[in-house]
Amino acid sequence: MTVRPSPDDVELYRQMLRIRRFEEKVLSSFSSGIFYGTTHTYIGQEADAVGVLACREEGDIVVSNHRCHGHFLAYGGSMHALAAELMGRATGVTGGRGGSQHVQWEDFYANGILGGTIPLAVGMALAEKVQHSRRIVFAFMGDGTLGEGVVYESLNMASLWSVPILFVLENNRYAQTTPVQLHLAGEIADRFEAFSIPVAEADTVDVIEIHALANKSAASVRAGEGPRALVLHTYRYGPHSKGDDTRDPEEILRYKKRDPLPLQGDRLDPDLRQRVEKEVEAEVAEAFQRAQDDPLADPASLTSPLDIAP
């Protein structure tokens, strides 16, 4: 069972801070060689995952992408298991099989192939619909992923068959190093509207605002009104993965001035805020320490991906 963050001010702040501190620790520890592979951090975008997934109800499904740590933590995934996964430990979310981009746990699915996750998200929503569950699907994707044709096939079918899915488009204004002006023609919202999928759009890092928008869209989806889309304009503060940042430092600074964390933190009682910050710091330190003390994944744990016998 996953514990879903209750959307009160403190909890929203705590969840965002958990992501922020976790990701900062990931970036600062990378050069020490404790991780395998690469990583894509969520720093700056925390309000999206936290605001949206605070609407999640028991049993809802989350489909994530390469930049999945924030989605996973906001979903209720274990911080220790995520740290252990990055370190290739037996105790990682997938026991070291998937690594940073391929996290699967309970009803949470992430994959490193851009766009490929969207049809299967629609398929899951269709399955929930025909089985009359009240579950809905949250499907996250980035602006760059709008380049993939399969996304549009999926939007068409989602709308055609009126499936319970909320598309969450996080426009952080870049696909890797490519600014949105160099990879996208037309407007993002129009893409959904072309398939008669209603869009709510916001250029904000205010978690409360995002949560309110998401709540409304998710309620429509849950009521059986068909798919909805949420277009959230945001910004990532870190590099695309580890060290590959070609953006103008002044632009980064400009966006850092509208940081989702102090915006929400300032709404809290200072003592309470300080307590939360201490608790989160302790949680992150403990998660990484425990993960580092865990055994590396054992090749004996690897199983065949299929039964061989016909």
């Binding site: 690469t38 290739g88 430990r89 192939i113 044709g149 490519t178 990879h183 065949s304 991906p305």
Partner: protein
């Protein structure tokens, strides 16, 4: 010079030599120059012919086909080899069909370059060796570059001298490897045959007659080369190593000639074991040399490539494994 510099230099040379050459790919503009930096410097030197694209692998490969049909020579970079799956339809059902269907009236001079392979902990969708799924597609040429001799020259041939669609396989771990020239090496004698796309035949210099033929391509050829050296000096097992550049269409006469001497074949590939390149090599070898042949295939285990270091290592073949297999075959 390393393989990365050789390939990058070759791209520059091709764009300088022919105004018909256009380069397309994701995140290839300066100062980034592509995820693996093979495109470094191209966009500033040839701004009009270097196009950074949306994240649309099927689309850009298809556009490359279209540009090739209308008199250009398109070079398309697919950031990770794993993403070639997204472009499979354009390659198999379009690029590979046009020349034949048109009765030779149209040609598709397209090069699709992409890095395959594991070893870096990127996990199941960024570490695969998928070229085996494109071998044996009639109308498509599949090449795999190595660190030997002239990797840049092979790329140049594919871009400027080949009028057919080419899937050009690089390996992430090859980029940093120094290029080994044919003349430099004192420990090996290296022979080159073939025209545009060479087959290399490598033996330990001054060694007794070979007891075993090993064949491998791409980065695995590099591992095989290390194994051949250690087999000779540590175990007194002398092996021929045959390295093709062209994987498909299949043509590997030097291998069959070597087998006539050794009667023992060991194939090595990073793709998964079953239904792989080695199986095709073996089939040709058996058809030629029949029951006298002793053979073994080494390949990745039949499972996705895990992210965690110790897991990944246990799935992908390594030098120790080649040495072990060779010793078992000789004993």
């Amino acid at each position: 010079m390393n393989v990365l510099q050789a390939l990058n230099g070759s791209l520059h040379a091709c764009m300088a030599e022919s105004e018909q050459v256009y380069f397309l790919g994701e995140d290839i503009l300066e100062p980034y120059g592509g995820a693996f930096k093979v495109a470094q410097g191209l966009s500033t030197t040839y701004p009009g012919r270097v196009i950074t694209t949306p994240v649309s692998e099927a689309g850009i490969v298809g556009l490359g086909v279209g540009m090739a049909l209308r008199g250009l020579k398109a070079v398309v970079e697919i950031m990770f080899g794993d993403f070639i799956a997204l472009a499979a339809d354009q390659i198999i059902n379009h690029a590979a069909k046009l020349r034949w269907v048109s009765g030779e009236k149209v040609r598709v001079p397209l090069v699709i370059r992409t890095p395959m392979g594991g070893g870096r902990g990127y996990g199941p969708t960024h570490s695969q060796t998928l070229e085996k799924h494109f071998l044996g597609v009639p109308g498509l040429r599949v090449l795999a570059v190595t660190a030997l001799d002239d990797p840049g020259g092979v790329l140049k041939s594919a871009i400027l001298e080949d009028d057919d669609p080419v899937l050009f396989i690089e390996h992430k771990l090859l980029y940093a490897k120094p290029v080994i020239s044919l003349v430099e090496s004192s420990e090996f004698s290296l022979q080159r045959s073939g025209e545009r796309y060479p087959v290399y035949h490598l033996t330990i210099a001054g060694s007794p007659p070979p007891m075993l033929t090993i064949t491998a391509y791409g980065y695995m050829a590099e591992l095989a080369r290390q194994a051949v050296q250690r087999l000779a000096f540590e175990h007194e097992i002398f092996a021929d190593l045959v390295i093709p550049t062209q994987l498909s269409p299949f043509s590997l006469d030097p291998l069959l000639e070597s087998l006539a001497k050794t009667g023992r074949l060991l194939t090595l590939e990073e793709g998964s074991h079953t239904h792989g390149w080695g199986a095709e090599v073996l089939a040709h070898a058996v058809e030629t040399h029949g029951p006298r042949l002793q053979a073994k295939r080494l390949a990745a285990r039949d499972m996705p490539i895990p992210a965690s270091g110790p897991l990944e290592k246990s799935v992908i073949p390594d030098v120790e494994g080649v040495i072990r297999a060779a010793r078992e075959m000789i004993s």
